[in-house]
Each structure stands twice: as structure tokens, then as C-alpha cells.
Symmetry: C2
């Protein structure tokens, strides 16, 4: 019997034998039980209900594993759910693969698995298949997760190729929360210090579906690693149009702004894990914002800029003083292991 209070992972749990079965039976199956997974084959078999499927994957190496507003498990579910949602798809099935380090406490593993289970239930997806490996002490970092996911496309054709000058740039809420929350959780700020910043980590598929239903959406993207500035650069790269952001309209919480100043970061380059960028036809933007405002996590949705024939190929910030600053892609690892 696994001791979930004081036991630690040993290499045996990655062997594919008895101990692996014990781990599956006592922890993973109870946590994720659903018909596709319960069949316990080498893979899951799922019905193909739509015309087009979305398929996505992400590995998660965030440090620390637990942070205000989330943990690596919640992140692993939301990350792939959101990637599917940004494809205009309804997320349905996830795979879950874990690389555990010998010596990792089972108490932490259970906490992570429970978080995965809860987040998946809330998002309406099931863990259809999985895999576990264990590496020797000193060859990992507690736990690395991978999720892949399949979704059914409800809005085909979302693509940067659909962007036109005049389109509006919408964001579903304040930016920079996740990056600063994780950085503050990582910094040893001493006992008694409790950071007021909570990660924005959340599933975005309801917001994405509502925006698509309102019509006029060109492309959706969650602004994760590299932040909003880097994500928008992926749209303008090599194009005949540019994007102009209005600094005064970009929502940043005061505490996030303060933390960024303290840490030498720019909120526009901080990772978000629950913020969607939506480029949409100008006439559709008001209806999309109305739809977003009606949903949890979309209350703070605003227009932060527009697509323009000026500045072709570039993302530019119009400052509150009226000057223009070019926002290039993030050059290096501003925030390593943020997700």
C-alpha cells in the first residue's frame, strides 16, 4: 500500500510492473475514472463526433510546483484546454503523462493529481489516457507533466491570415498576473510575507466559445510564455499590417505593476495562463465584449488596440504621452520555467 502521507516515489513506480499498477489503481484511476480511461488499453478510443478535430500538447516544468492561484496540475489542464479553445474547438479528451523524480513525496503527487482531476471536471474534459515514468534522484525536478488534448472544432478558419487593418485587439482581463505570481512565489521573501498576487490560471474555452458565437473573430490566442507582446508579434511577423496598442487601455493590476517594477519586468512580456487575446472585426467588437463581460473571468474584457496599416510587421505601443515604442518579441528567457 502506498503511504500517501510519508512515502516517496521510488524507481519501482515507473517500472510498468506491480508498483506502477498500484499507483494507477490507488491514485490515478480513482482520480480520473471515465470509460475511455477505464478500459486501460495502450491508448484510449473515443468517438469522432465532428468534422474537424483540434490536437495540442504542452509539457509543464513550472517552479515552484504550487503557487498562489494554482499549481502544476491545474496549469497542465488549463494549458491544453486553452490551446484547444484558441483553435475554435470545444476541448473533450486529455492525455496525461508524468515524469516523476525518485524521492518525490506522494503527498505532493496526490495534491497535484487531485488538482488535475478537479480542474478537468470543471472544464468538462476527461483524462482519456496516460503514462508515468520515474527518473533517478537528481535527474528531474519533482514532477514534470505533459498533457495532450483533442477538441471538436466549432468555429473553423480562425487564423492570423484572416486579420485585416482596422480589426480590434481585445483582451479578457488584466495581464501579467501569472508571471508575477510565480516569480514572487519563487523569490524567498522571508517568513510572514504573503504575496497579494494570484495567478490568472483558468480554462478559457467558455470565453472563446462566447466570442466565436458573437461573430467576427479573426484569431484567438492565449498570451502565455513571452506575454501579450510576444504573442501579438506572431501575428504581425512578415505582414503588411501592424498592431498598435494603447498603453492607457491595457489593464494591469496596481499590485502587478508594482511587482513588475520591483522585479524589473514588463507586464506586456509576463506570462498569462488565463487571458485570451481576440482579434476581431471592428463592427463585432462591442458584441464580443458584451458576451465576454457576462462570463466569469471575462468581466474585465477591454479593447487595448487595433490593427493598422502603419508600422507594417510591427507591434507598437502608443504611450500615455503619445510617443510610440516598438514591442519586439521576447528575446531570451525573461521568466524561465513559468509554465
Amino acid at each position: 500500500m502506498i503511504d500517501f502521507e510519508h512515502g516517496v516515489v521510488t524507481l519501482d513506480y515507473g517500472s510498468g510492473g506491480e508498483k506502477t499498477a498500484e499507483l494507477i489503481d490507488t491514485l490515478l484511476r480513482p482520480a480520473f475514472s471515465n470509460p475511455a480511461l477505464d478500459a486501460l488499453g495502450d491508448g484510449a478510443v473515443v468517438p469522432a463526433p465532428g468534422e474537424q478535430l483540434a490536437f495540442s500538447t504542452d509539457s509543464f516544468v513550472v517552479q515552484p510546483l504550487f503557487f498562489p492561484g494554482g499549481d502544476i496540475g491545474k496549469l497542465a489542464v488549463c494549458g491544453t484546454v486553452n490551446d484547444l479553445a484558441m483553435c475554435g474547438a470545444e476541448p473533450r479528451w486529455l492525455s496525461l503523462s508524468m515524469i516523476l523524480e525518485e524521492g518525490f513525496p506522494f503527498s505532493s503527487l496526490r495534491r497535484i493529481v487531485e488538482s488535475i482531476s478537479r480542474t478537468a471536471k470543471e472544464a468538462g474534459v476527461c483524462i482519456a489516457t496516460g503514462d508515468t515514468k520515474v527518473v533517478e534522484r537528481g535527474h528531474g525536478d519533482g514532477v514534470y507533466l505533459n498533457t495532450a488534448g483533442i477538441g471538436v472544432v466549432h468555429t473553423p478558419g480562425l487564423s492570423p491570415a484572416a486579420i485585416r487593418p482596422g480589426d480590434k485587439v481585445l483582451v479578457t482581463g488584466p495581464i501579467g498576473d501569472h508571471g508575477t505570481a510565480v516569480m514572487l512565489a519563487r523569490a524567498d521573501l522571508g517568513p510572514g510575507f504573503e504575496s497579494p498576487i494570484v495567478s490568472d490560471c483558468m480554462a478559457l474555452h467558455h470565453l472563446a466559445a462566447a466570442a466565436c458565437a458573437a461573430g467576427g473573430v479573426r484569431v484567438l490566442r492565449d498570451a502565455t510564455r513571452g506575454g501579450a507582446a510576444t504573442t501579438l508579434n506572431e501575428f504581425t511577423d512578415g505582414q503588411s499590417f501592424g498592431i498598435c496598442l494603447f498603453e492607457r487601455d491595457i489593464p494591469v493590476r496596481p499590485e502587478v505593476r508594482a511587482a513588475c517594477e520591483l522585479l524589473g519586468l514588463d507586464p506586456l512580456y509576463c506570462a498569462n495562463e488565463g487571458r485570451m487575446l481576440c482579434l476581431a472585426a471592428p463592427e463585432s467588437a462591442p458584441a464580443i465584449l458584451d458576451a465576454l463581460h457576462a462570463l466569469p473571468g471575462g468581466e474585465g474584457a477591454v479593447c487595448i488596440g487595433e490593427v493598422t496599416k502603419e508600422f507594417p510587421g510591427r507591434v507598437v505601443l502608443r504611450t500615455e504621452l503619445g510617443a510610440h515604442r516598438v514591442l519586439t518579441r521576447l528575446a531570451g528567457a525573461q521568466l524561465p520555467r513559468i509554465c
Copy 2:
């Protein structure tokens, strides 16, 4: 520009910014180019051509990364292709996620990526979507890979629940090659020593499809971690039937048998990465063996045992002397990090 001869991976390459884009543009896209991946969205969109899909995932942590007959890249493609094939599905799309360690040589990374690309082409699957993370030096082991895959089910209903007493147990070739090849590659046997044992790592979907087309297949499984003995125990666990293997019929190469004796291993518990176990109706077994013999990698297919009402819930080996030995599941990590 990435120096693929002498450069090493730095944290920047996992940032999601400029360096990540450079890695994608100079290495990954050229290697895997296909319409689904080239769209470079957060996930791939693929048509859903069948009624039922198979979905599978595996992470790969094998050491060493390169071994006779394969490498971690070939293993990562074959592993998921085979999991899908064992579901009675034709493998179509793979995702690829890499966790790289800071300091990992780009020359090795390129070698691995080229191996992935070659193996995927040979297996007729495309890498539809991907992700790359980098962890600090000392927090990984060069490279860990994850693949997930989607296949289209051609033979629904393959399941251990379909097994009946009298069914035959077939295997597509000699067992134990992969496990012993990797163990010998890991052992420092001194300069000038070249192991004669080559991993059996190969894609099994052609063999699986041929067996299914011949008819009468109950269940398919590739005998990876834990070996043939552990895999067969998954079928008999809690059942009213058992499986009896005939020792004299189990194909093991002489050099593998010798290596197993040297290393204190049992070929029945050694991992295979290109050997399929097929349980089939007795009247169908000859036709299935004929179909397997006609295909590369199936020339050595034989019947090694049968399902029996004796020994309910157990896998038993009838030795050449006529005695019976119970083959339990692998209890611990006989061969850690074998895949």
C-alpha cells in the same frame, strides 16, 4: 543562428520568445513540415475521418539516448504508433513535446529530431503539433520526450474481455532484444567491445493491421516495460482463465539469452519495443501467422502458448522438463529507464 555543431541548449530556447522561434524555424519545422503543423497554431486541426479514434501518450526517458538499433527519438515515435496500433487503429497524427536540459548539445538534438522525422515518415504519421521546454542544468537528463497520438480505428472491439479458453498466444518475433541492447549500451564494457545485440524498436502498425485483417484477433499488446510476462498478466488478472506458455516455443536469440544470464535478467521480463503479442481464436491462428510471416519484422512470428481453464488468473510457464512455473508481474524496476 544556432550552431548545430558546437552550440548547447540554453534556457532561452524554452522561453517561448525569439530563441524558441529560431529553434522551431531552423530545426523543427524543416524536420516535420506538414499542413497541420505548419499552421503553427496553439494546436493542430485535423479532419475526423472515422467513427472511432484511438488516443495515446507516452513519455520517454531512456538512457542512453542512443543505443544499437535506435535512439530516444525513434523510440518516441514507435512507442506511440504501437500503442495506437494495439488499439486496432491506423496511426495518423502525433504530437511531440521535448523537455531539454540546459547545456544539451544541439548536435545530439538534431540527431534525435532527424531520427523522429525519419521514423515518422516511415510509419506514415505526421507530427501535427509540438512544444519545447528547457530546464536548468542538473534538473533533467539531456532530453525527455513525450509523444501523444491519434489513430483511426479499423478494428473495433479488441479487448481482454474477448479472450476465451483455447485462444492461442502469438508473438511476432524473438523477445528481450530491446531490454538487453539498452542494458549493454549502458554498461561500460570497455573500449573495443561492440555488443552484438540490437534493439527490436520498430513500428508495428502494419503487423497489427495484417493480423486484424486475417480475423479472429481478441486483443493486441506490445510487450514493452515489464516484458511479455507482465503484459500477459494484465490479461489474466482476476479472470477465470489462465495463460500457459511453452518454454521451448518462446523465441529468444542465443546472444540475448547469454546477455540475460550475464546480467541476471529473464527475457520474459525484458522490455521489447517492436514485438506484438496477439491473442486469437485457435482456428484463426494459422492465417494470422501466415499474414505476419509475409511482412518485415513478422518473419519470426510463432505461437508460444494458449489460454486455458487451468491456472485461473495466472500466467504459467511450462518448462522444457514439463514442470510449471508461475510468472507473476514484474515487481520492481528490473530495468529502469528502458524507454
